[in-house]
Symmetry: C2
Subunit: 429 residues, 2 copies
């Protein structure tokens, strides 16, 4: 039986889980792939840190830097993370030295995926990154293989489990953002530094990877509108509910006349819609394509278990000897695709203004809106705490994004406006 | 560039759609697989039938029977259907003659899958059947590759689009079964002879295939409880709604202490649950596994578009040269698995009795239930049309299936019972 050696670099929760899984399932992997997979080496920043797993001395690599140059390593699993530094160096060097690479690193792939794919092809090795998007959900394999030759027009979904957990908890428990974030950290659903999750950067990396696969294009990093969830107030959650919506953080990539619109933002979605029911740390991806129609896949978006499942699927694909281009098609066939700026896109929007309740306020607001070509579909004025303040909720007809931004900026400068106006686009899913 | 010849046998809606798709996307397939795929031959029962596609004379095979023996055919796509006769003969002969086979034929695979898999391995060819379950949804590929080494404990879902369409329409439009079935036929959502869809046989074949893949076992055909949807009345749909449920036709396969429970039946599921929101012709499959957790995939379960998508994914997998065992692992490693009879399984149940409203009726019913160890959680008696009749609805605590059957049989013999008692198991999803 063929024997393949693997090195796991990075032994956090995920690396440890993978190590334990591969050790426990060595027999099963033999049966399923006809290959004997041996975890030959591991490496991590701190060798003597307390971990759930026990690693024998002879498996420890002095430095992860050595891995690309060791002859008896066939596959390197990079679980360091981050788009630069150690992870970048390791992955580039590994591929250059003809090692197959498996990684969960969305930041690295979204930034250097094109270069790495080219390099992997040149060196005839695999670069696999199923675990970089949507945890255990085999979305990348589904696009690359299950939906091959489909003409995909749109791919979108909930790609950040932390944001979705926070929004779900805010809705269920009527807690404020900061309290939920605190709880999420305690439960392990948010990292100690959750900034990339909260500000949308994590979802941005993921949608870049997905849209590149879906549209057979090089990774497109330009003109992506990215908004996070930290400005969502409990009152917006409640307003959404009253209006028949839920607030969800979506990442969307859509082909429009052969140009690419990518956007990442919290938005309102209809309460009955599929995506509105994806709660907690779940991820979901929806694909609209021809001939398949509408296709949906969902599952746990993060955590050691699901991520291990995805890593192992990549590893076994390598064991089977399926050397395919990292982005499904040869790099030379991946097209550059022009991107669309969100400015001229039109959306129906929710706008909330907290104002001093004085004469003339409403007329000043409607004036500003009208000047910016924002036509009002619905307006609700609610007294707020005392009678001196009011919260004004506006649902607009379809308006240009640039007008939305301009109008809310103008409104935020009005003396009677208390806080920065809040807005959420209403997305039909 | 490598050239591969394919023959499509069967040119109904699906065969025609596949033919058109392969012709239109020949370039794309070249780019994606580096192989030039040529539809060399087609064959169908009636050559001169009116079709949406035009096939040149030289592509027509005189008889499908010849396909396995023609040298310049590499892949044969079987779209005849049925577990016996022409389809069976074609697939067996094709594999014996070292042709790769792609099929959408769930009846054939669920019946002869084990034999065919063995034969395919011996002849070192592919036998692919993604299109046999859940239309375009890449569920088979997801189990075989995306979830590899996962320990799956349960796989279930909505696998018959026709049944789901009928139940959804009955709920939405308050129409009766027969009227909806008539409409479904007109819309093309039910075949002119929909018996295998309506009576559960279609879903049975599909769950057999899925459970075999999920549990790495030979196909298990014994002790499967199969019930269709034709006994569901509009009043049951309404009652379900009132009680906080929806009626769905589910196929379920579950490992219990290393034994397999397979069942296919309409049942009540909680109104808020994921599966309760899968409507129309959609299919959905849910997998519970370790380490992945709960994983869900949904999409259009039938029709030329989705089925073509699945067939093409199989074809391209063959073009890439991925010769893998049909059921993911070598046939010798697939285990026999013992099956569990539903008799001793316990369920909470909904029972409906239409009765003459006479003195003593309720006590006779509760007596029979109690004698059969059925304890009542909830009982509602509604007058029915006139005051002489009543509909009695019972929600039981968890009861043994054998007791449910025995009690409803006994009750159906009572003089005061008007129609055969109806029951639905309540399934937690």
């Amino acid at each position: 039986m063929k024997k393949v050696n693997i090195a796991i670099i990075g032994l956090g929760n995920i690396g440890s889980s993978l190590f334990a899984h591969l050790r426990k399932n060595r027999d099963l992997i033999r049966k399923q792939t006809n290959v004997d997979l041996n975890v030959k080496y591991v490496s991590a920043k701190n060798r003597f840190k307390k971990r759930k797993i026990k690693v024998s001395n002879k498996k420890w690599l002095k430095s992860y830097n050595l891995a690309p140059y060791i002859n008896d390593i066939d596959i390197i699993v990079e679980l360091i993370g981050g788009s630069e530094g150690a992870a970048k160096k390791l992955v580039f060097n590994s591929i250059k030295n003809k090692k197959h690479v498996v990684t969960a690193n969305k930041a690295l792939i979204s930034k250097y995926g094109d270069k790495l794919a080219k390099l992997a092809e040149q060196n005839n090795v695999n670069l696999e990154f199923e675990a970089s998007v949507a945890g255990g959900v085999p979305i990348i394999r589904s696009i690359k293989e299950g939906l091959i030759t489909n003409k995909i027009s749109k791919i979108y979904g909930i790609l950040n489990g932390t944001s979705n957990f926070i929004l779900s908890q805010m809705a269920d428990k009527r807690m404020d953002f900061n309290n939920v974030l605190y709880e999420a950290k305690k439960l392990g659903y948010a990292e100690s530094n959750p900034i990339a999750d909260i500000n949308g950067d994590d979802a941005k990396s993921k949608i870049q990877i997905l849209s590149s696969l879906a549209f057979n294009s090089l990774i497109n990093r330009s003109k992506i509108n990215v908004e996070g969830i930290k400005n969502i107030d409990q009152i917006d959650i409640q307003n959404a509910k009253l209006l028949g919506y839920k607030i969800k953080h979506l990442a969307i990539a859509e082909l429009k006349k052969n140009k690419l619109l990518q956007m990442v933002h919290p938005c309102m979605v209809s309460k009955g819609s599929y995506i509105s029911n994806i709660n907690g740390v779940l991820n979901a991806v929806i694909i609209e394509g021809n001939p398949i129609g509408k296709f949906t896949i969902q599952g746990e978006g993060a955590g050691p278990g699901p991520t291990t499942s995805a890593l192992v699927s990549d590893i076994c694909s390598i064991l089977r000897g399926d050397i395919n281009p990292p982005f499904a098609i040869p790099n030379k066939n991946r097209k550059k695709i022009k991107s669309i700026d969100i400015s001229n896109e039109i959306f129906s929007c929710y706008i909330r203004l907290d104002v001093f309740d004085k004469t003339g306020v409403l007329s000043s607001i409607t004036n500003t809106l009208s000047k910016n070509k924002i036509s009002v579909k619905r307006l609700i004025q609610n007294p707020f705490r005392s009678k001196r303040f009011a919260s004004i909720i506006i649902i607009s007809h379809k308006i240009k994004n640039s007008n939305l931004i301009k109008a809310t900026n103008e409104l935020s400068k009005k003396k009677f406006v208390i806080n920065k106006p809040k807005f959420l686009r209403i997305i039909k899913t």
